[in-house]
């Protein structure tokens, strides 16, 4: 079943169009990744889906509903959560209050249980539940941002560069979390500059260049596409200098 269908999407800032006629579709239970260089329009794409930027043309259909005209708080209420770039935790609020804010759209009695589930997933957050989020390390803030989005029980989770600026052990941790979430049946749209790891976890992938989708396919097939290897995996440059690229082996990848 298709969770999100985007067609003919155009969007940008003022009179500057950043996205030109973008089409993307996401099936339930999949990890879909969008890779692209800095300035390709990845963040604009996510901001447009979540309602922070109004699309100038095109349709965004989420679970059968048109959402391109809705304000962001209504879109969250429908079950689409964005974890913004740069770990946008509420730094002056405690870890616990951040997680409670994650449940802002909910009013059912299971919220406490879902917060406990986040603490089980990221035990370091349980230790620091009463600390201000601004005092956490970058990796911990990213875990909090993801945990907070999960408390909303989204049917689609959008992640904007979750590995950006993190220490390698946290990057591994974040990608492991994405695999866990997928095995739990969650649907994820992942935007990344870390193309290799993103393509390794993704069921399907899109390449965004200067506001246009230039390639799409399964994560694995894009990993083996020469254009992708050259531009995003940096293999040609290395090869031409006679350097052998060590390939990452990650367990559990089909």
């Amino acid at each position: 079943m298709t969770v999100l269908t985007i067609q003919g999407l155009r969007s940008g800032y003022g009179r500057i169009e950043v996205l030109h006629d973008v089409a993307v579709s996401i099936e339930r239970g999949q990890i879909v990744t969008l890779i692209g260089a800095n300035g390709a329009g990845k963040t604009t794409f996510l901001k447009t889906i979540s309602g922070l930027i109004r699309a100038t043309a095109g349709t965004i259909e989420f679970e059968g509903k048109s959402i391109e005209c809705l304000p962001p708080h209504k879109i969250v209420g429908l079950g689409l959560s964005l974890v913004p770039e740069g770990r946008a935790v509420l730094k002056r609020m405690t870890v616990m209050d951040n997680l409670r804010m994650g449940a802002f759209t909910r009013s059912d009695p299971d919220i406490a249980r879902d917060i406990d589930a986040v603490f089980d997933r990221f035990p370091v957050l349980a230790e620091r539940w009463n600390q201000l989020a601004g005092t956490l390390s970058g990796g911990e803030q990213q875990m909090l941002a993801i945990g907070r989005a999960l408390v909303a029980r989204p049917s689609l989770l959008l992640l904007d560069e979750p590995s950006l600026g993190l220490a390698p052990k946290f990057v591994t941790r974040i990608f492991q979390t994405l695999r866990d979430l997928k095995s739990e049946g969650k649907t994820i749209l992942l935007v990344e500059q870390n193309a290799r790891q993103a393509l390794q976890v993704a069921d399907s992938a899109y390449v965004l260049e200067r506001g246009k989708i230039v390639l799409s396919g399964s994560g694995e097939s894009l990993l083996n596409t020469p254009e992708v290897q050259e531009t995003y995996l940096g293999q040609r440059a290395a090869r031409s200098h006679g350097i052998r690229i060590p390939t990452f082996q990650v367990d559990g990848i089909a």
Binding site: L52, H73, V76, S81, A88, K91, M93, M101, F104, R148
Partner: protein, 290 residues
Amino acid sequence: MIYQQLINGLMLGASYALIAIGYTLIFGVLKLLYFAHGEVFMVGAFVGLYLVILGGANIYVALLGAMIACAMLGVIAVYVSVRPVAKNRPLAPLISTIGLTIVLQNLAVYIFGGQQVGFPETVKQELYNFGPITVSSVQIFILAIATTLMVVLWLFIEHTKMGRAIRATAENHETAALLGVNVNRVVLITFMIGSGIAGVAGVLDGIKNSGISPFIGLGAAVKGLIVMLLGGLGNVPGAMVAGLLLGMIEILSAAYIGTTERDFFSFMILILILLYRPTGLFGTRMTEER
């Protein structure tokens, strides 16, 4: 003698704190210096007065009436002086709320007249002696109402869903919206709360000074502003403590140095704060993280 003065300072400070809370709440969510707040305080005082004089209301009804009327006025203020004005130009809403100040003040002169109007005795005046200290029933009443309001507000901000939404909005509009917060609604509610509290402060001020006029707004606005800066922009507990502090400083300087120097000390504090502790006494973390 000094204890007596400290008690008096506490009373004065309580009403400063109530005004400053509204200022700082509104500054928190909008990063906007909202000038009309002092006039909302003035309107609150008049609403309370007229409920007592014309409606024969008791003081609690007058307080509640002023609170509701001012909360409504806060909503009107948002619609006429904040929303229509360009958001990306920070000076524009500053000017438009100054405009609202002028309108409200003139409207009050037109309706209530420019004279000082006496506030009838609504709280029975009794004096209690605790050793060397004399406290009046009015003072106890004012302090009790102000303290109750501050405690309730603090609990609301810290422990309710809407309180958390206000804090989240104060920190970052975009992040709050992405969590499902209707930011425009939160801004409106914040104005209602801040204005409602200012209305109560107006009535309390009327009881204390037993007289009000359409021109009490400016003084209240300036004192509220000093307290907000002293407590740290957007810092609600800071405003509470700073309000009490400023009240005591004023009373003590009036008692030991001279009545005419009272405001001089307030403004000296303002200048010193701006020079040496621009983040306020309690160092608010207001730096924009973008």
